[in-house]
Symmetry: C2
Subunit: 317 residues, 2 copies
């Protein structure tokens, strides 16, 4: 490893804020030095508690994450926050998001906040988030909160890979939310009904309970449902204790170990796929081969499967 | 190609509804016969107009798609609808969705509707959707509407790959929608403000206009903004004519050809990656190698990058 990466890794390990920021940029962009850096950090990762927070837009996830952070800080824990935000070239969404979030914890060295753009990551968003988590874990954060704003496949996968997955819903978001709930229902370890001072809270709770009653309970336990009004700090302590309860139970029953193992397997396979494709692009595909293949695809003279198989054939694997 | 696939492909090409359904299941699940089937269908694909429809939950996308379908049918066009829905093992969301949609067009042979689950696709959701589109195009549908319910990275990618991308917003969805809008803003060729009989419609239109004014116009043209009340069929004809206008312009300026080329390139690279990993799993990785690697990852005795590079090294590419 080059001296520069060695120094950067050492500075991350002692929790230096600027080093963490630089390391995250390096691994998020998958810069050439990212692999060496991650190799140096990986042995020190895996100790933090990772809490994923997801739910439909308008559920108040960011406020909830801010409030959870305040409680965790009071309890003496250091906190990392990864907000997976949609970005726009117009508004620079991620940066704006950081600024708003920063206000509450700006002067607190015990909180590191980073927004991630949702697009253009080599190997996909989930893989990039995994790399960022490795950096924050190696930096010694006690708890890492991963918040996703989107509610697509990648975002569900990211939150599902956390030690504890929190799904946030609110009263009165309309029927289509029912459909969204279906997609994220399976990954929920703890449900939050936020904005619980609004009308319709009982209906949402009843709907969650009715869905849960159809599913097999894990070790006789069903996900807790916690009501919060994050803006007034109501129910946030209860939420954190439900998260702790789940984690304690998951540790005892082996559920946590299985989750973490599944996540490591995914991380290995994603990394293998990503680095393999990079080597294939560099050493197997000729300089203009992709463009020439696309010419033939446009002419419908070949199909993507036959074209791919021809490349693989040549590799003599 | 086996006789069974040959027959299935021939039946898809003549538009047989049961054959289309079976072919979609085959390619969605990436069954062993999927590649041969797609190779047979691909030369006949590429002629349909593909319209992507996305936007936050609650925007009324499904109603809009239903209304667009009715107008297209009146104009004598055959229509394929792909609804990318979150699925749950509890509620079987996708199937339920199909049933509700089916009611309006159940007896119409000129409409083929399919909901896709958002999870568990080899090579990702976007790749699976691409395969389903190939089937519907080969089956001779004139127009294909792709509706995504989620608003994550994959869903944006899917809609962005359409010939024309329609982004649906509504008045009064709260502040977090602003953030979501940023993520999907870039892919919009046509904006719809649906439920335009609600309060706040002027504000939404003004916000879109203000965002657009910050972006460079393509050939001096900015995306149209169409107001609709889909439930009452208001503005739907105007929307379809805005879609036609965009497509006509995109055809003349070469924008459409560039979009389609970029999509074919992505399809080739996704297919190559997917099939390459399959071969590596079968021929390179030993029977227990993945599990043994995960053991070492758990012990932090190796990191994912070093483990992946060791496999690639052995392949002597």
């Amino acid at each position: 490893m080059a001296v520069a990466e060695e120094t950067l890794a050492a500075n991350v390990l002692r929790g230096d804020v600027r080093a963490i920021a630089r390391a995250i940029t390096t691994v998020e962009n998958d810069a050439p030095e990212a692999a060496a850096l991650l190799s140096a950090l990986f042995p020190h990762a895996g100790k933090a508690v990772v809490i994923g927070v997801t739910g439909p837009p308008g559920a108040g996830k960011s406020t909830l994450v801010d409030r959870m952070t305040a409680h965790l800080r009071k309890a003496g824990k250091t906190v990392g926050i990864v907000a997976v935000d949609p970005t726009s070239p117009y508004t620079g969404g991620a940066i704006l998001g950081d600024r708003i979030r920063m206000q509450a914890h700006a002067t607190d060295e015990g909180v590191f906040i980073r927004s991630m753009a949702t697009r253009g990551h080599l190997g996909g968003l989930a893989a990039a988030t995994g790399r960022v988590l490795t950096v924050l874990q190696a930096a010694g954060k006690d708890v890492i909160l991963v918040e996703t704003v989107g509610v697509g496949q990648d975002e569900v996968e990211i939150v599902g890979a956390a030690d504890v997955s929190v799904v946030v819903l609110v009263p009165g978001l309309g029927d289509e939310v029912q459909a969204l709930k279906a997609g994220i229902m399976e990954i929920a370890d703890v449900f939050v009904v936020n904005k619980a001072d609004r009308e319709g809270v009982d209906r949402v709770v009843a709907e969650i309970e009715s869905m849960l009653s159809l599913a097999p309970a894990v070790d006789g336990e069903r996900p807790a449902i916690v009501q919060t009004v994050a803006a007034n700090d109501q129910g946030v302590a209860e939420l954190l204790s439900a998260v702790d309860d789940f984690r304690g139970r998951a540790e005892r029953t082996g559920v946590l170990a299985r989750k973490r193992r599944a996540h490591l397997k995914q991380e290995f396979e994603d990394t293998l796929q990503e680095r393999l494709m990079r080597v294939v692009r560099r050493r197997v595909l000729g300089p203009d081969e992709v463009e020439r293949t696309v010419d033939r695809l446009e002419a419908r003279a070949v199909d993507p499967f036959a074209a791919a198989d021809a490349v693989i054939e040549r590799m003599k694997i």
